[in-house]
Structures are given as C-alpha cells and as structure tokens.
Symmetry: C2
Subunit: 313 residues, 2 copies
C-alpha cells in the first residue's frame, strides 16, 4: 500500500523534462517536487488535437479524456467535431474541464463519406492544422483521439520536441504495438504489422511535431487517404529518419494505447404515455447527449419496475 497525500499528488502537475526521468517511476515525485515553485509560463504549450464525431459514446469519451488532460499544465485542447456547426452540448461539456480549448466544426466533405474506406478524422485534423497555422507561432502539436489512453508521462516526453518526436503506441495492429526501432539511439526502421510501403509506418498517436518546424513547411498537410494520413503528412514535412527524436525510453516503453470503445447505436425507447416524474428529465438529457430517444411507436418497450413487477410506460 502506498501513502501519498494530496500535496504530493498535486505536484504531479509540475512538468519535468524527460531527460531527467529515470526508469524507476518512484523518482517522479522527487523530481517534480523540486520544481514546485517553477513558473509554467516558459514551458512550451502542447496543442492537443482531438478529432471527434457525434455518437452515443461521445460525451463519455470526451469526459474521460478531458479529465486526463486536466492534469497537464500548458496544454491547449483543440477539439474538431465532424458536424456542420459547433454543438452547444459539446461546447458546454468542454468548459467543465477548465482547460484552455478551441472548439471547431469540421465536417467531412460529402464526397469522402461515400468512400469504401472513409478517411475519418482528416477534415478535423486539417481544420486544426489551419487554425494553428493562423494563430500559433510555437509549441508542440499532438494528435490524440478521444478513445485512446494517454499516460501522463507522455506529455513530459513530447513537450520539448524540436522537429518530430516518435514513440511506441500500444494495442495496435497484429503486433499489439507500432514503434520506431533504434540502434545506438538512431532510428533504423519501424516495427508495424501493416507496412504498406509507407516510409513512416506509424500511428497517428505515435508522434509529436514542433510547431515552428510545421510552420517552416507551409504546404505540409494530411491527405484524405485512409491508412496513409500519418505517412504522407510526415513526408510532406520533409522529415528524414535522422531527424526523428525517439521518446518513451528509447522507444521501449508504452505511454499511449490505441484503446477502442465498443460502439452501439443510440437507443430508441417506446414510451406510450407522457411521464410525469424524473424519467421525463432523464430522457430529455439522454436525447440531448445523443444517447437515446423516446418514441410512442417503436423501439425497446419502456418499463417501470417496482418490487420485481413491471409496468409498461
């Protein structure tokens, strides 16, 4: 059993340069506690770009991710939603976390919705790149999907990216991992179960980009080509193997996982008569959150259960 009071836990918010971090995770607290009076203003800002889209699980996913990001200082969250206009419900949700954020409506062009493999997330990431190019001069760009899992150490690792940093991503592909491979600190190739002739066979969550470096390549962008977004974006940055800054303890540790949440369609609940109790407001909230809607004619029969006996609603 470990005993750590609120003060020690609070210090986790301090940032530490990854080169100071040893292998033994207990060191983390020693290091950060030395920095308790450090101002954060001189730390590069991480621009964390999350493409998202309306679905039954969206609010849960963004809640869980937002609560992870709340731990990180000097982070600006860019949430780009696949909708025609910014949605008030998501806007209100985002304000809850107290994280500086930018909320963008970035619908996928209709032509791509008909593709056999839909390039999901590209319009969102391109919109975020456009916003960064227009408004930001320095810092670090990272693409973090709303269902992935991010170890807090990841943020210490990527914050001082000079050009492009790379690191392993867990739970992806036939190997359960995708990662650069290093020899004597230099990238000698990639370990990824879907090479597809890509120069950079990596996952979207497996790299971070310095924003100054991005801006020095004004035409760098992401293609609407499912499976090739990462590679072609990195190629468009003129990246060379020797430029890559390996992170995650020399690409040997997993600090981000490509977790996926089981998705189901929103529920339709058959309710024949108006309800005059808390269920009325609960059902309104479920509809607002995109989780369920009620109908008088179709869907799963609504039931009220009391003492084991049911009554149709």
């Amino acid at each position: 059993m470990s005993k750590q009071g609120p003060v020690q836990r609070k210090l986790r918010k301090s940032a530490s340069r990854n080169q100071y971090l040893g292998k033994d995770e207990t060191k983390r607290f020693d290091i950060t506690s030395d920095k308790r009076n450090k101002k954060f203003d001189d730390l590069p800002i991480i621009y964390f770009v999350t493409p998202t889209y309306p679905r039954r699980e969206q609010v849960a996913e963004l809640t869980r991710l937002g609560q992870t990001l709340m731990h990180i200082v000097n982070l600006h969250w860019i949430i780009a939603d696949d909708v025609p206009t910014c949605n008030t419900m998501i806007g209100k949700l985002l304000k809850k976390f107290g994280i500086p954020f930018t909320h963008i409506a970035s619908p996928m062009p209709d032509v791509y919705r008909k593709s056999s493999v839909v390039p999901r997330g590209v319009a969102n990431r391109r919109a975020a790149l456009g916003w960064i190019r227009k408004n930001i001069h320095s810092g670090v760009l990272y693409f973090g999907d709303d269902d992935n899992t991010f170890d807090l150490e990841l943020f210490d690792e990527i914050r001082f990216t000079k050009k492009v940093s790379m690191f392993p991503v867990g739970l992806i592909g036939d190997y359960s991992v995708s990662s650069p491979v290093l020899m004597e600190g230099k990238v000698i190739g990639f370990f990824d179960s879907w090479p597809a002739k890509r120069k950079f066979p990596v996952d979207m969550a497996g790299f971070a980009v310095n924003i100054g470096f991005l801006l020095s390549h004004p035409h760098a962008t992401m293609p609407y080509k499912a499976g090739y977004e990462e590679d072609q974006f990195l190629v468009s940055l003129g990246l060379k193997l020797e430029d890559i800054e390996p992170k995650g303890n020399a690409c040997t540790e997993i600090l981000v996982w490509h977790t996926q949440t089981t998705k189901k369609p929103a529920s339709t609940i058959r309710i024949s008569q108006p309800t005059d109790n808390s269920l009325k407001v609960l059902l309104e909230n479920l509809k607002y959150l995109g989780m369920a809607q009620s109908s008088t004619s179709k869907g799963a029969q609504g039931l009220l259960t009391k003492d084991g006996a049911t009554k149709q609603l």
Copy 2:
C-alpha cells in the same frame, strides 16, 4: 475558448458537498475556490473497489482509471485481481498514481469458471468486502470497474452517502441507461431494460454504500449469480426503497458510463532471429505487460520496415 490557469484547475481537487453544486457547471470553480484552505481530514474516505483480471488491455485500462482517481481527495483504491497471487507488474503500476491503495489477489473459484454465465468480478468484490469489514470503520464503498467512465462530480455526489445512494448509469442495456425513477424526491421504481424480477434492477456502478451501514449488516454479501449480484447484495443489506438517497441531480444526470473497451487476445509475433536493438527491450516489456509474446515458430511474421521496404525478423 475558455481560459483557466493551473491554479484554478488545481482547485478542482477540493471537495464540495453535492448540495452546493448548482446546475451551471461554471459554478464549480467558485465553490471549490472558497474551500482552498480546507483540510480534507474530516471528509469521509471513498473506498473505490475495482475488480480486474489479466488481459491485453489491463494496463491501459488501469492507467486511464488511475489517472481519473488521482483527481480525488480522500480516496482509497482497492484493486482486486483475478489471479492466485499479487502480480508485481500491477503492483508497480499502482504505485505510480500516488493514490493510497490496497492490492488484493482474489482468484475466482474454479467451479464458477465452468458456469455457462461466468460471475466475473464476484470473488474480487467479496474479497474487497472482507478487507473492508476487517480494516475499516467508516467511509463510503463504491464498485467501479476498470473500463467504466467516471465524471469527477460523481465523487462529490457519493461522498456523504448515509445508507445507500443511487444514480443513473449511462450506456447500459437496451435503454442506454439504468436508473431509479423519482416522484417528489422518492424512488417509485426503476428504469432498466432487464428487470428480471429484481427488487433493485440497477448496475454495479449505480450505487454507493455507507460503510457503517454495511458493517451493521454483518452477513450482507454478494452471490456468485451472474446478473443478480447487485440486487442480492442490496437485498442482503435489508435496503428499503425509502432508504435510497437519489443523486445525480435527482437521477436525471449521467455521471458514470458503462463504457466497454474492445478486447482482443494478446499478440504472438514470429521472430526467427534474436534482435539486437530497441525492439528486444520493447518486446520484453510487451510480454511483461501481457500484451504480446514473441515466438520463433508461430504468430504474425515480425517485419522491420525501412524506406517502405520490409525485412523479415
């Protein structure tokens, strides 16, 4: 765009009684900032019980959950793993979060593994109940699975539970929700798509129990009966409908979601020759974490990709 600096976000750690919380989420910061000098010692401790079991996604799930729980003051995490003896890997992981915790090995008895519907998590929760009965005199018990999503507000809601509090759980069953139904502040029944003649048709994440109340029922326990664990546990507590304390804004708001993570078997990677680079350590780490193992004779062929060309490993 919302601007909140680290200081304001830090204050989120303060606790606030749910009755002070208004509907407008922006109030949260005003309230907690008034309490910045409050000592937490007099707040009831939440005993957060997480049953878990070895699988490819276990470390990712516990990382994500641990990082949520790091926000909560006066919380003690009880992690009960379905293994014969406590696993060093999980023990080391748990220490990273700086949360007081108890790590229990609680294997399911073999007889239940052969059931047509396996009562997963019961041995773990029973072991946690046993530990609490032996070691703890007050506080609040909550069962939180490692793949669920918990809004931080939930903890403010359940912390002052007097007997048993209840609230809606999202993303469960055919209604995408399970919840008590209230009329004039009293529970008049339950809205759950699988009534199954249960007196308390609720999900495991849908209630919290005062530990004094638990201790006053020395024989209360959870049965090895899949689907009926919650109901029979609550019945064994002698709970009456009128005892239930509704939370979640009178059971109208979702503060916990039954998210489920897609599961796949750990990978086997065919690697014929010993690797002498970072991959060697990465593969050792993947094996240690239960995510993948390498083999010289079977599994997905290991490939090293460089400049789009692949080489068998």
